[in-house]
Amino acid sequence: MASSTDILTDITEKDYEFGFVTDIEMDIAPAGLSEETIHFISAKKNEPEWLLDWRLKAYKAFQKQSMPHWQNFEMPDIDFQKISYYAAPKQKKQYNSLDEVDPELIATFEKLGIPLSEQKTLAGVAVDAVFDSVSVATTYKGKLKELGIIFCSFSEAVQEHPELVRKYAGSVVPHSDNIFASLNAAVFSDGSFVYIPKGVRCPMELSTYFRINTENTGQFERTLIIADEGAYVSYLEGCTAPRRDENQLHAAVVELIAMENAEIKYSTVQNWYPGDKDGKGGIYNFVTKRGICKGDNAKISWTQVETGSAITWKYPSVILQGDNSEGEFYSVAVTKNKQIADTGTKMHHIGANTRSRIISKGISAGHGQNSYRGLVQVGSNAKNARNFTQCDSLLIGDQCGAHTFPYIESKNSTATIEHEATTSKIGEDQIFYLNQRGIDTEKAVALIVNGYAREVLNQLPMEFAVEAQKLLSITLEGSVG
């Protein structure tokens, strides 16, 4: 058995496994951000007038805003003028079958283990594969169509369902919400759109795989999911990205809208390039995710497993507007090398009898810095609101950090809010116990970490849970506290 320090060094300096570059001709906008860029994107995508106006409004809001300064890390300098805001695979004709798709693209997906081809598709997973911003292939569309479910790329939705997009886009995350949301609204390239009609239970997990490919292209995805009255949908988002030396900015926006009695479950496994062991390169993952429980008895659940990115900075939130509505947030965030995660959630209790549950598990190794930042806000009309928050941090090695910044704001005497947080390392007694039973230290740590994260991993759909578990053990097995 290798000594604990060896394993620790080995693991915390482990190279990114999915670092490779696919060479496909790209249609790239010149770097730089101006009104012209926005006109260019909008024209390229053949967008209606109102969307262009909205983009321009967002751009104005973006110009007025400055970089936030409250975060718990050194903000890297981002030159917005150096980023190219549009990149799409050159072949833009519609594919009817997989044979028509660029073989290299298929190979990339296969390397990632993405079940794009139908034979390989895990049962019940419809994939809307986003390859650098434009949807290339969508599967299972027919089956969903029968049920009246719309699952397509955002730009397609703009063309085919403009009334829905116009009504809901920007209704949860306004164009002026924050600097990155404004930037996204101004220049977003594509994304996914889901509409589940009244009373329909989506029979399969909807899934999008994101992958950033072209150098210097920030990805500005925009996802909009609407679950109409009584509908149910589970949506998966998973990411891997090839290795890069230049930092890449990812400023996505996700909006979820749950009407009366509807339920949306949104799961993320994020494993973008985290940079090398000196923190060089790596993705900046600055995402605005927010859901609204618009009607009574609605439910929104966020689950995230964050192992990648140089900086992960996001707070998937839920606005609990309808009475009896429910919000959940389950998160595992792992940071190693020089990775930074500043993540958490916001639960805004507005309606009566609203409930929220927050389970956040942070794991820091190497020089990683992990922050939980959460807000639980109870308004004066949220009678009998209930919140439970638990955020635990696990420290592996003495160079990392774990931080907790919960904000609790209550204006209601009938609300019950609980928050608890702990920070510790893996106990030597726990390791010893397992060693005693013939389990080596490496496996013991994997076992303990998996047990530690179980509460969150259990929330993931089955296929994802397997992937997430593998990711966790790749990242941390053998790390001895």
Binding site: S380, A402, I408, S410, T416, I417, E420, T422, K425
Partner: protein
């Protein structure tokens, strides 16, 4: 600063400081230069605004609207007689009493003037500045704490208590802070408490505004040093402060094997109470307990900010703050625990519980942990809630009236903190005050 122009006090304080261009007789250059640096910090940043994270929930602007005098009333407080002072003695408490009027030590009203173990001086009369120079302002971060900087620049006077090495002081020191002014006044007292090696002392601070008509604004700084093996029990009772607004900055520095216990009890009275309690653990193997209880009523704003800075290994800190809010009261709790990379084997705990009795009451709680060492045990918890209906039902079913049952449950909630107070007479005194408030709340229903 543009935003500061709106606060008349800002200009007035600037003028006050300019009048100090001549180094006063009893100050030397070093002290004067330090004051100037501190004032520059204040001048640059002005009064804290809600845009600063530490003041996010506490807006000072409405509390600074009135015109405030910055000069102490120039009379000798003859109207305060020893009988007046005795009203503020705590029943059955055997203590050495020190009386401060408007932040200045009043020797004629005090019953204790120091002995072989304890030396009591006013900061201004401390004959030799060398005595307090090693301590004064050593740990205070003037850059981020503009009000502490303002106090450093312009403090007038205060207490300088030294407990000699190896002295175990039996009787607690009871400091009675009296405030009186015919006009609205802005006071900046400064206290320094040093417990030398292996000394042990208990300090009880109480206060009262005896002239209720005028507003008393207090911006105080207290520095406490617990040297190696010293033990300090620090009780602060904030009650009887009608028409008072106060920001208290307490900066504690602990050396190896020292023990510091702080008990802060805030009761209805003052319009605004902001307590900044910072504990710096500059050496290893220390122990710290911070207990707080706040009962807010009317339009009170009670804001407790605590920081425990674990810089060295093997330190233990424990914090428990509980609050009960009635009427339109608002409370803020912000507890920070920092554990530096070097501070391995740290045990740090923090808990904040709140009980909201009215729909107009507001609580903003923000416990936070920042940890850079791995071999630590740290946890925090925070709750906000209402009465446990089952407990209420249990009591009601045994024939206890609703108001008594409620008041009993509040007392039980407060008990966890009150029970920690080691001085029996003080504990009964606080219990009595809490009961008086509870009776008031539940009688009016």
């Amino acid at each position: 600063m543009a935003t500061q122009v709106a606060i008349p006090l800002y200009d007035q304080l600037s003028k006050d400081f300019q009048q100090r261009t001549v180094v006063p007789e009893n100050e030397d250059d070093t002290l004067y230069n330090w004051r100037r640096r501190a004032f520059d910090k204040f001048r640059q940043q002005g009064f804290p605004s809600i845009r600063q994270e530490d003041w996010k929930y506490t807006n000072l602007v409405p509390y600074l609207k009135e015109e405030l005098q910055t000069d102490l009333p120039s009379h000798d407080y003859n109207e305060i007689t020893p009988e007046t002072v005795q009203k503020f003695y705590i029943n059955k408490l055997e203590a050495n009493v020190l009386v401060l009027v408007n932040g200045e030590l009043n020797t004629s009203l005090s019953s204790f003037h120091g002995d072989g173990d304890v030396s009591i001086q006013s900061i201004n009369s401390a004959a030799d500045h060398e005595l307090y120079r090693p301590y004064m302002g050593k740990e205070i971060d003037l850059r981020h704490d503009t009000l502490a900087a303002l106090n450093s620049a312009l403090f007038n006077d205060g207490l300088f208590i030294e407990v000699r090495a190896n002295a175990v002081v039996e009787k607690p020191l009871h400091i009675i802070n009296l405030y009186t002014s015919p006009k609205n006044i802005f006071l900046q007292p400064r206290h320094l408490i040093v417990a030398h090696k292996s000394a042990a002392v208990s300090i009880i601070e109480t206060s009262a505004n005896i002239n209720n008509d005028a507003i008393v604004w207090i911006n105080s700084v207290t520095e406490v040093y617990a040297e190696q093996n010293a033990q300090v029990n620090h009780y602060v009772l904030q009650s009887g402060l009608v028409n008072t607004r106060e920001v208290n900055h307490t900066e504690v520095t602990q050396h190896t094997h020292s023990l510091y216990n702080n008990y802060t009890v805030t009761l209805p009275g003052a319009d605004l109470v902001r307590n900044n309690l910072n504990v710096n653990l500059v050496e290893s193997a220390t122990e710290t307990h911070l207990y707080g209880l706040y009962l807010g009523a009317d339009h009170q704003l009670i804001d407790n900010h605590t920081t425990v800075d674990h810089r060295k290994p093997n330190c233990f800190s424990n914090e428990l703050y509980k609050g009960v809010l009635a009427g339109n009261a608002k409370a803020v709790f912000n507890g920070k625990i920092f554990v530096h990379r070097e501070a391995q084997k740290t045990n740090a705990f923090q808990q904040n519980n709140n009980l909201l009795l009215s729909d107009k009451a507001v609580i903003d709680s923000k416990p936070q942990l920042e940890i850079f060492a791995d071999d630590v045990k740290c946890s925090h918890g925070s709750t906000a809630g209402q009465f446990n209906n089952e407990a209420l039902f249990y009591l009601r079913s045994r024939g206890i009236s609703e108001s008594s049952a409620r008041s009993l449950l509040v007392s039980a909630f407060a008990f966890d903190v009150i029970n920690k107070i080691k001085v029996g007479a003080l504990r009964s005194h606080i219990e009595k005050l809490i009961n008086q408030n509870l009776q008031k709340w539940y009688a009016s229903k």
